[in-house]
Symmetry: C2
Subunit: 227 residues, 2 copies
């Protein structure tokens, strides 16, 4: 089987991206990075999702981006709530170079396990405007990867697969449900309560709620929580 | 002053690259990554070098590339000794995606401290043939950086400075000595004895010895050690 390293956060997008890659015949090596995010609940979700996806391995790496700082997601500043999402502003939840760090780690592991692709669940429609979620960024990383590794210069370049890049959140959810994804396992909130209840007002909660609403289905994570 | 993030290993090259950048007017933010290397002696050397360079800050980050594996430098396999250096083979000391991970972390920190450059001490002449030490690789990372960050899309792109890229080891040493670099502080060996004595036979020791010989000076680290 063809192998792929899946960047797995425990959220809705990376689960769906993994399910699409699996349906496409890839054997999944799931990689989750604990980077000092304040919403560590998503690490537990990532474990459940890795199991649900039948990942061959699930590697968790501690990379303390919190020591670099510069983001509300690692404790520098306050998570914005009820923020308008139709602006071009990059919010304080942006983590400097996060996807570049994640893709670099995935690149190293991909070379070791002889994977032919990295799967990443970024999307450029319903997102917070982060620069490292755009197609031109991903193409530049793919070009870099072909030059960076022993595998690349030996003629085994790596592909960066971003199957959600042009989908809306509602389309992502519909695609996932058709593939049997169990969204009750996922966690999206940037600022959950101590009991892991989503705040409902951060960008991630708002985008998720809008996605389920537009997809015409209830969010199973919220249904489960109310029970 | 203009700021630069310096990737600092504790070896000869990164110290010299830092000294050149400092002479060029950069204020240095030194970044050292503990990635699980078996020769952890170089971390202590990095601290001494950061002080000698007058770095404004010295950030040490733990990033366990040893969990990814795939290299003799992180404990997978044996460090090769007395290896011919005129082959095109990539040796077992190659660490998958190491420079990409290091540059990514530097990219994040550069954005946070508003640095305009990253300084990296790679050189493409007297080196072990690692793919991520070549000029075309560094250009691809610079291109990636311009797309990856908020700073990049706001018109403050980052430069990747590799002042040693076309120098031989002897030329690096001569340049460093002219700038007052104290090579007694540095550590290069991949496989030191428990008391930190260099093995003298790994690629790094062999390249270093050849460099000092061709530069016509004694290696002050070895002189100090013999005393």
């Amino acid at each position: 089987m063809i192998r792929a390293v899946l960047l797995l956060s425990g959220g809705l997008d990376s689960y769906t991206a993994g399910a699409i890659a699996k349906a496409g015949g890839y054997e999944l090596y799931a990689l989750t990075v604990r980077y000092g995010q304040v919403h560590a609940r998503e690490i537990e979700a990532a474990r459940d999702v890795a199991t649900a996806l039948g990942a061959v391995r699930h590697l968790e790496l501690d990379v303390p981006l919190s020591k670099i700082g510069g983001s509300a997601l690692v404790g520098d500043g306050v998570i914005p709530k009820d923020r308008p999402l139709d602006t071009a502003d990059i919010p304080s939840t942006y983590v400097p170079a996060r996807n570049t760090v994640f893709l670099s780690l995935a690149l190293g592991w991909a070379e070791v396990v002889k994977a032919e692709a990295i799967v990443i669940g970024v999307n450029a429609l319903d997102y917070s405007g982060y620069p490292d979620c755009r197609p031109e960024y991903l193409r530049a990383f793919e070009r870099l990867a072909s030059l960076a590794t022993k595998a690349g210069i030996e003629g085994r370049p790596l592909r960066i697969l971003s199957p959600l890049i042009e989908l809306s959140k509602a389309e992502i959810i519909r695609r996932g449900l058709a593939l049997g994804v169990d969204y009750a396992l996922t966690h999206s909130c940037y600022d959950p309560a101590p009991d892991a209840t989503p705040c409902g007002r951060c960008d991630s909660c708002v985008l998720r709620a809008r996605g389920f609403r537009e997809a015409g289905v209830a969010d199973p994570a919220l249904v489960r929580q109310r029970q």
